[in-house]
Symmetry: C2
Subunit: 466 residues, 2 copies
């Protein structure tokens, strides 16, 4: 190893860590050329040295399970954290920052919960945290947001940020598989974990949205600020009706700047803890607008760019006030795509420019005020509703009467022919309505004896014109 | 203006310059917040002060037509060049660099012809050239290539880089308009210039590809290294046959790393001026591969992500060895999208990180060896061929005999029924063939008395699996 090599320590050596080791090994010459000096993986901290999986790419004597030995390794100014999770991993990251080491991390869960504290700690110790790999795998969405789109006031983000869910939805849509069949297949192919809850509940996408929205809107966003609903209760019937109406169903992660006038009940339900005047001052970038932050199954027009994103791919649509619509597309997970983002971060930190950028520009959430969110029930949207109704005269009149009394008007109704007296699906598309009002109306509709079970309600997302 | 403001000089104040002035004016508070200091547009150099079009956003006393007065303005460390073209503009850029000023430019023509010299001049004077706006308007493709995908050995780029051509092709495909009608419409809507040659000839896309390929492959690429063919001779018949065969026609800008074994005649036709051994050493990143650099109408599968790019939008597909396929999509031209890229560059340069990155990382073409290209005739591709043939027995036998003797085999034939003795279109799809061999065979076919006119030949581009 040349004397001017830059030393890297790595925490974790599972799938992503193995990919990082592989890249640093196989592309050593290319990286040395681009950086003007070699990168040297000096030490790897693992839970169990015997079980560490690096595909033989990390020499045994570099592996250690001893955190003190790891952190006392000399000439190791960059720590790569690819262990995932919080708890002890988070204490390691703090220890690294406190020791004046830059951190490269793929850990969305940690950033979505502790981002502001960690960025503040990094700033205090004059080091940087690079986190491109925490969202959308290898697609450089963080780099684009932090630097490439810097001139824009961002108005909205719409992302397909969970490849497992997109794979399942694609199979349901294109192959007519049930949710359970598509999930089992995703598990067999390694796209879904044995316990798929984090993915299918929308929680994984919510963590990623928190990281993205903090950067995009210049506010501090925690995972708990994102309202989320998963795909686990989606019925194949809804996928089919979506197609019939000209839509696709995607699990979208959405952050939209929304002006107060668009919302019904602005204050008490929205969870804000400060008087408006104080927030408006603190929240200088957002001004008088608040953010709608949510992850949920969404009807989107079959011709929309995001509807073309199939299988395990990810994509992020960003609407900037100057650039208009831009979209990034690619593999949001997997060993080598994620390692691509981690190693790109390593090179950008090692060259010195990324730490300078973090210091010089006011981008990170430790310097931002808390986000002001709009409560889910205050969301104004078009809705798709499917209920199971007894096919007798007067049902539609009673349903539309309840909706009408809540100020909700209909734009489309779908009811296929059946024998009178049978239960049949009744599908309704509404004009724009406040979610709270709609859910109240659906509660009343559910009580009707001619309606069987709970009506299904899915938001229709009309993205801005390109 | 606050005393710590960073001063900007701008050369040119047309459409893009007006957009830059508008952003700097309207978003002054946002930029000051992100940068920690305000940006101050101090002076604007124009050809004619009376005619300068800045929509009233530049105070009259800041405009000057006097280059000496412009360059002697104090406290103006960043020069923005949005005049376009070469000649005197290029001398202004050199003058700025020699005076130790950073340059932000949208000028693809200048970079595609003089990039290595300009980057070397910048390095000599310890300043940076930022050029995000030179390719794909507001889409941050340069930032992604320089930083976000840094860990990748790039294997291929496929871009829709000219919005005018994509608009015309979309109208021909979706509305069945002729090339002339679609062009006239593009001109009426302001998507095409009165003289559309630069766009429709493929030359504009070739300049952009030269800039991108230099960065992506770590070699010096000149516009003249890119082989190009425009859309101006495309016939509606080919658009229709493409659809019938399951393809769309797009004007693609392509840079592919191609291993020598894939090519027929490696040396004399490929325009290389050095023995292989020397090139292999100098061209360390490319190793034993060369680049195929070309812009031409292309058949792509109707389901490919790039086929979904419609109207005046641009997109760039990048295939990296680790990340796989990533695609960026958005507006590739227009006042505000281009201004978005220019002002993002201004902020990144002003913060100091971009100049450090250029200095620390070996990315720019002044440090790279000349590209080693593959001659167009050595390209191995599948081809679509359309000829007008007399519908008499034996025609297909004579055509396929000529192709067979050149080692070209057919994968599909399309011939619609007609009356015997009439001229009808005969469409052939080939398996992979060397372009030189195919063109020779088509010359022979053209000589047949049963063939009317010159056969049309369009490349089928099979992008790598995602």
């Amino acid at each position: 190893v040349s004397s001017n090599a830059i030393g890297i320590g790595m925490i974790g050596c599972g799938t992503v860590g193995g990919g990082v080791a592989k890249l640093l090994h196989e592309q050593a010459a290319l990286y040395a050329q681009r950086l003007g000096r070699p990168v040297d993986l000096r030490r790897v901290l693992v839970r169990d040295v015997a079980k560490a999986c690096a595909g033989g790419l990390v020499q045994k004597d570099k592996l250690t399970a001893d955190a003190d030995a790891f952190f006392s390794t000399a000439d190791m100014p960059i720590i790569v954290e690819v262990a995932g999770g919080r708890g002890v991993v988070s204490t390691y990251v703090r220890r690294a920052l406190e020791a004046g080491k830059h951190v490269v991390t793929a850990n969305k869960a940690m950033l979505a919960a502790e981002g502001p504290e960690l960025f503040a700690l990094a700033r205090k110790h004059k080091v940087a945290i690079a986190f491109e790999a925490s969202v959308a795998g290898g697609i450089p969405v963080i780099t684009a947001m932090q630097f490439g789109l810097m001139a824009n006031r961002i108005d909205a983000l719409y992302g397909i940020l969970n490849g497992t869910c997109n794979y399942i939805l694609t199979e349901m849509t294109r192959e007519g598989k049930s949710y359970a069949t598509a999930l089992a297949e995703a598990q067999a192919k390694g796209y879904a974990e044995a316990d798929p809850t984090l993915d299918v509940s929308g929680k994984d996408a919510a963590q990623k949205l928190a990281v993205l929205a903090s950067l995009a809107f210049g506010v501090s966003v925690n995972e708990s600020d994102v309202w989320n609903e998963g795909i686990d209760s989606l019925d194949l019937a809804d996928i089919r009706f979506a197609a019939e109406l000209g839509y696709d169903i995607k699990l979208l992660a959405i952050a939209e700047r929304t002006h107060r006038s668009e919302f019904g009940v602005p204050s008490s339900e929205s969870g804000r803890d400060l008087p408006d005047s104080q927030l408006a001052t603190r929240n200088s970038e957002l001004g008088t607008s608040a953010l709608s932050l949510r992850v949920h199954p969404s009807f989107i027009h079959a011709s929309a760019p995001l509807a073309q994103v199939r299988g395990s791919f990810n994509a992020l649509s960003v609407y900037g006030h100057a650039v208009g619509h831009t979209m990034s597309y690619g593999r949001g997970a997997g060993q080598m795509p994620t390692a691509s983002a981690v190693v790109s971060d390593i090179l950008n930190v090692a060259s010195g420019w990324y730490p300078l950028a973090c210091q010089a520009m006011h981008l990170l959430s430790d310097r931002q005020s808390r986000v002001q969110t709009v409560a889910a029930n205050d969301l104004v949207s078009r809705f798709y509703i499917r209920m199971t109704a007894l096919d007798v005269p007067g049902v539609m009149a009673r349903v539309s009467d309840i909706l009408g009394q809540s100020g909700i008007s209909l734009s489309a109704i779908l009811q296929h022919e059946a024998n009178v007296g049978q239960f049949v699906p009744l599908v309704i598309v509404t004009h724009k309505a406040r979610q709270g009002a709609l859910l109240d109306a659906l509660d009343q509709i559910e009580q009707l004896e001619v309606i069987d079970g709970k009506p299904v309600c899915i938001r229709i997302v009309d993205m801005p014109a390109e």
